[in-house]
């Protein structure tokens, strides 16, 4: 790579060819504000549409200001980021955006998390000179997962990049022209009538409140305050390594104990861990895999824990519905066990039980509402909160999460292994399955449970694990665009895998659409992943089939893994869906 010399605000700087002005400026301590720009380093995700113009700078010899986020440096370039012309251009671009933006910051879901708000503050904007007509479109509240408010759309196109380039779902694009332009589905269809998977990655990157999760906090409060209901809760593996961020804790803090304590303080009648159901999932899924391998069943088998992934293949690959495992996701398995086994054990009518889930995910909200995942018109899971909503609930309740003493989950459905914890990261589900499948197939004890060849953050990974005589070929994909490639290979007969793990969100559930906002800092995701593996190492039991509570569930209630009762309660089916 060759070196380019340029000058920024009179300072000489040398950078690699291909560097943008924005990156070069950082090298000399010059911060240029950005808004539409997004670079998720290490994940290969870049939004560089240069549409907001909040980062424009003066370049000598150029007729107009240039967007520093996407303009590459050239030899001898003379850049001025602090000239009156640059500052005026940037400021007016932000003022114009504000002139077409609702001034409801105080009640906006993105209050204090909004990048437009922060930019306005950074630029010291105290009045908007260009007031005029504002966009006035109805909100889209059609889905169980997200709310789309076109009036807050600033056309940064980050959501489009996630939806089209990263996830290859292709639901979001700019519609209309001129002042009326905003991002939405074709024909401005309701989100619920599209192929949206509700992965929530659009929400995760939206700089404003144009895309947010549906808020179910009020419904959970009402359930908790109702004397007739038995309200129990489950928390997903990825929550414990992320929620601390909302209370000033370092990214990557493991807060399992505080999490249990906080739930107890809120007054839930039973505090359980979705990790229990993750172990249960492995019992079923590993059995299904062994069954498919031994009986010449359809291979590869694909995991089915991720509801966004499930909806993705229903829309995009309706001809391949026999490939994914028929296992329900851990969230739904947990809900099912709670409304059957738990209800029976406790002697409570399942209709009086409210199951609340706390999930890192928006798709889990839509999943809980899927009609085939109910039993006798009773949902398996009643209410789903994201990590963010749960954090807000704790703040409202005045619970200082970071100062809580550690506590434990309740027994019966509270025990879990290290195999379950790693469900929260890409590669974790398949590693957990391998730990169990190894011992079941070989009949030998697995000494070293850590399969490092399955770990990492590359979008597509593959590894071969020797299980006795069997060379088990494993594929892993996170991000639905990567999943698409794997599925296309299967369809074309090019795939050599026995089993494939797929998670819709970059990084897996740790990078879920319902997690505390990362604001483009992907180190946060890496730290959450490290924390997941740390929690795994701290566990006494690290293989799902060693979870004594799960084994007791089979003994008392379910019988054999992958047996008759399991099929009835823990497995599901998929529905071909339209592509639009």
């Amino acid at each position: 790579m060759s070196i380019i010399k340029l000058s920024i605000n009179g300072m000489e700087v040398e950078v690699q060819k291909g560097t943008t002005i924005l990156e070069a400026a950082k090298k000399v301590g010059v911060h240029i504000p950005t808004l539409c720009h997004l670079n998720l380093e290490g994940f290969g995700i870049v939004n560089q549409v240069a549409s907001c113009r909040a980062c424009v700078v003066e370049v000598e010899g150029r007729n107009t200001l240039v967007p520093s986020c996407s303009e590459k440096v050239t030899e001898g370039m003379v850049v001025k980021t602090d000239s009156a012309r640059s500052i005026t251009g940037r400021r007016m671009a932000v003022e114009l955006l504000l002139s077409n933006h609702p001034k409801e910051c105080l009640t906006c879901a993105k209050n204090l998390e909004c990048e437009l708000q922060a930019l306005s503050q950074d630029l010291g904007i105290r009045e908007i000179k260009w007031e005029g007509e504002k966009m006035d479109y109805p909100l889209d509240k059609s889905s169980f997962s997200l709310v789309k408010d076109p009036n807050k759309c600033i056309m940064c196109r980050r959501c489009e990049t996630m939806c089209n380039d990263v996830q290859t779902v292709g639901v979001l694009s700019a519609i209309n022209r001129g002042f009326d332009t905003f991002v939405g589905p074709a024909f401005n269809l309701d989100m619920d009538n599209t192929a949206c998977t509700f992965c929530g990655q659009c929400v995760a990157v939206c700089p404003t409140g144009a895309l947010t999760e549906t808020n179910d906090v009020g419904r959970v409060w009402r359930a908790l305050h109702s004397s007739e209901k038995h309200v129990i809760v489950q928390v997903a593996p990825a929550i414990r390594v992320a929620i601390g961020e909302m209370f000033g804790m370092e990214a990557g803090s493991v807060t399992t104990g505080q999490l249990a304590a906080s739930l107890r303080r809120l007054g839930f009648d039973g505090i359980f861990d979705t990790d229990f159901a993750a172990d249960l999932t492995i019992m079923e899924e590993a059995s299904e895999l062994v069954h498919r391998i031994k009986h010449g069943g359809r291979l590869p088998m694909l995991t089915s824990c991720c509801p966004a992934w499930v909806k993705f293949f229903e829309h995009q690959f309706p001809d391949m519905l026999d490939i994914p495992s028929s296992c329900k996701s851990p969230q739904i398995m947990m809900g099912t066990v709670m409304k059957t086994y738990y209800a029976e054990k406790k002697g409570i009518d399942p209709r009086d039980i409210v199951v609340v889930s706390i999930m890192p995910c928006l798709a889990k909200k839509a999943e809980a509402a899927r009609p085939e995942l109910t039993k006798d018109y009773n949902n398996n899971v009643d209410l789903v909160l994201t990590t963010r909503e749960y954090g807000a609930m704790l703040k409202e309740a005045g619970i200082l999460f970071n100062q809580l003493p550690e506590s434990d989950f309740d027994s019966l459905l509270g025990e879990s292994t290290g195999a379950a914890v790693i469900f929260g990261t890409t590669g974790g589900v398949i590693e957990a399955a391998v730990r169990t499948a190894y011992e079941w197939i070989t009949g030998e004890e697995l000494e070293n449970v850590e399969f490092h060849q399955l770990r990492g953050l590359e979008g597509i990974r593959e590894a071969t694990v020797n299980i006795g005589d069997l060379k088990l070929n494993i594929g892993i994909a996170h991000g639905l665009g990567n999943a698409r490639k794997m599925l296309e290979d299967i369809r074309d007969g090019k795939s050599q895998y026995h089993a494939i793990e797929i998670m819709a969100c970059p990084g897996g559930c740790i990078g879920g659409g319902g997690q505390p906002y990362h604001h483009g800092d992907m180190d946060i995701i890496r730290k959450r992943q490290e924390a997941i593996y740390k929690e795994d190492r701290s566990k006494v039991r690290r293989k799902s089939h060693e979870n004594t509570a799960v084994l007791k569930l089979y003994e008392d209630y379910l019988g054999e893994p992958y047996g008759h009762k399991s099929h009835e309660l823990l497995h599901t089916y998929y529905i071909p869906r339209e592509k639009i």
Binding site: V49, A50, S51, C52, R53, A54, V56, T64, L65, P67, S70, E71, K72, R85, T88, G89, M92, A93, L96, L97, S99, N100, K129, W130, G132, E133, I154, M155, S173, A174, N176, R177, G178, F179, D180, T181
Partner: protein
């Protein structure tokens, strides 16, 4: 042509067609039946003199009949074709000395014109490839493929000094050279026929009148840059041009002038047509490419330029219709010939669609360096109804107004820019003393803010805000602060917008503010009235205005001066049109 005693050439451009030229054609066919094939009826492309259409020309007499109606056909046949006498009443009358002119060269409209791009328009039947070939058609392609290397082609075009006629003014040869040198497994050459300026119809007329000249040039360009595929991007609102293009492509393919191994040279070249939905921004080359790819028609940042990464990510050259129409003459006559025409840095000619308050509305092609005064007052025949010239808008919604003071500016890319306007694609709209410049600016801004793709903030929101201020002003609800805001916004949008559309959108406002500040101030200070008024001196009390006023706000007795109730007037202008005594004063 010698087999026939006479050829009857009937303009079949869109504007003459709209004035029944199809029926004239039919009438001629019927009338000449039974004359043993002595006469041949032909449809041709646009003659340019649209104000006088429909136009019928008789060869070899070279007689030019104007404003012909189907009922005139019988007389032309009987009197002219059979008896050899001219039909005097259908000849063009010189407005200055009232003399009837027979031949088009004698008309002032044509005298200062120099036709390169329009060379065949009005001379050949655009639906017949043989006629094009008879006028040296496909000779240039033959020469290129059999005698020249791609480098030779690039050199001759570069040396000619030909610059892009779509508005950008980039050197065509240089564009081709960049695309030629860019590596790519596949390359594309595109014709931009997304003509969108209000009132502009240069490209449409070329395609309707001489489609082969563009196809041939595309093949030459394809050979130069190394592309075997040409794509025509044309707006669907040009059905006649599309139809003629399709015919031309089919004919060229049948003759082996498109397709495989053209002129036995081993060079393959095919052309396909893609229709645009008529979005103005799709004239911008990156937006055009996205539209062709099936994506939303919106521009992306340059660099990378299409010559490096264009259609499907491959090296692509996008050139405008009129640019192509210049290529074959350059190849055949040489770069020196071409560069001897025109001005210092703007070589050759430029076609303008002359419109507005000018007598000779039509299509004119003049050498670069011709002054605006020559175009408007000589070729254009001056202002209609003897009114006073006020301004001329060039460059359409991206350009600005030019006033009396600058009328002697020679037309070239740089000079027009220096006086706050631009060459643009060739729209030229003349305004007289009655035109309200604030309203004119508002009209153009309404167009651009509506046609903005909505991608970047300054264009999406900024142009809307400018429009709102103009509305405020013209509704007499604005103030002097608004004028400063308009300027600030305009300059900021020019400096920060993403593509050419946004960067030039404020031009009509900024340039009218520069030359007619008093008109803006009149609105800002609310000195302007919104209503029409009656000049009591001139009003004879005929009641014509009272009868047409839709809101009954005019009162007065017969033979006494009438009065308009200014608070009730809706400024529809009906009274102004109805008054035969010039007694109504515009707001």
């Amino acid at each position: 042509m010698s087999n026939y005693k006479a050829h009857i050439m009937i303009c079949s451009g869109t504007s003459c067609k709209a004035s029944e030229s199809e029926n004239i054609l039919e009438a001629f066919r019927e009338e000449i039946e039974g004359h043993d094939g002595k006469f041949k009826v032909l449809k041709t492309g646009c003659f340019g003199f649209c104000a006088q259409g429909p136009i019928v020309k008789i060869y070899p007499d070279n007689v030019y009949y104007v404003k012909v109606k189907p009922e005139d056909v019988k007389e032309i046949v009987e009197k002219h074709l059979i008896k050899g006498e001219k039909v005097e009443r259908l000849l063009y009358e010189d407005p200055k000395d009232r003399v009837k002119l027979v031949v088009h060269d004698e008309m002032e409209f044509y005298q200062k014109q120099y036709r390169i791009a329009l060379r065949n328009c009005g001379f050949i039947n655009p639906e017949n490839i043989e006629e094009y070939i008879a006028f040296s058609g496909y000779e240039a392609l033959g020469k290129v493929l059999t005698e020249m290397t791609p480098q030779d082609v690039v050199k001759i075009v570069k040396d000619s000094g030909l610059r892009g006629r779509g508005g950008g003014g980039f050197l065509t040869g240089l564009k081709w050279e960049l695309a030629m040198k860019s590596p790519g497994t596949e390359k594309y050459i595109i014709c931009n026929a997304d003509e969108g300026d209000p009132g502009a119809f240069m490209d449409r007329s070329i395609l309707e009148g001489d489609p082969h000249s563009v196809l041939e040039a595309m093949a030459i360009g394809g050979y130069a840059i190394g592309a075997n595929k040409g794509i025509f991007y044309i707006r669907a609102e040009y059905p006649l041009a599309i139809e003629r293009l399709k015919i031309a492509i089919r004919q060229a393919e049948n003759e082996g002038l498109l397709g495989k191994n053209i002129f036995n040279s081993g060079f393959d070249f095919t052309i396909e047509i893609k229709l645009g939905a008529g979005a103005f921004v799709c004239g911008e080359e990156t937006a055009l490419i996205h539209s062709m790819e099936g994506l939303r028609g919106e521009p992306t940042k340059k660099p990378p330029f299409p010559s490096e990464s264009g259609y499907k990510g491959m090296p692509t050259s996008v050139n405008n219709v009129e640019t192509y129409a210049n290529i074959c003459p350059i190849i055949l006559k040489g770069s020196k010939w071409f560069s001897s025409i025109g001005a210092e840095n703007s070589k050759g000619t430029k076609v303008f669609a002359l419109a507005g308050k000018v007598n000779n509305v039509g299509l004119v092609e003049v050498p670069m360096g011709t002054t605006l005064r020559e175009i408007i007052f000589e070729i254009g025949g001056g202002i209609t109804d003897g009114k006073k010239f006020k301004a001329v808008q060039t460059g359409g919604p991206s350009g600005g107004v030019i006033t009396e003071a600058d009328l002697d500016t020679p037309i070239d890319y740089e000079s027009l820019k220096a006086i706050g306007s631009m060459m643009g694609s060739g729209g030229m709209i003349v305004m007289d003393e009655d035109n309200d410049m604030v309203e004119i600016a508002k009209f153009y801004l309404d167009f651009t803010q509506d046609e903005s793709c909505g991608k970047c903030t300054p264009c999406r929101i900024g142009t809307k805000r400018m429009y709102e201020i103009l509305e405020r002003l013209t509704n007499l609800e604005g103030d002097m602060d608004d004028l400063q805001k308009l300027k600030d916004l305009g300059n900021m949008i020019k400096d920060t917008a993403l593509c050419g559309l946004g960067q030039t959108a404020p031009n009509p406002v900024l340039s009218t503010m520069r030359y007619f500040p008093q008109e803006y101030e009149a609105y800002a200070k609310r000195e302007k009235t919104k209503s029409y008024r009656i000049d009591a001196e001139k009003c004879i009390g005929c009641t014509a205005c009272i009868r047409v006023c839709p809101v009954n706000c005019i009162t007065g007795k017969v033979k006494e001066a009438h009065i308009i109730d200014e608070s009730a007037c809706i400024a529809c202008g009906a009274c102004f049109t109805a008054c035969k005594f010039g007694a109504i004063i515009k707001p």
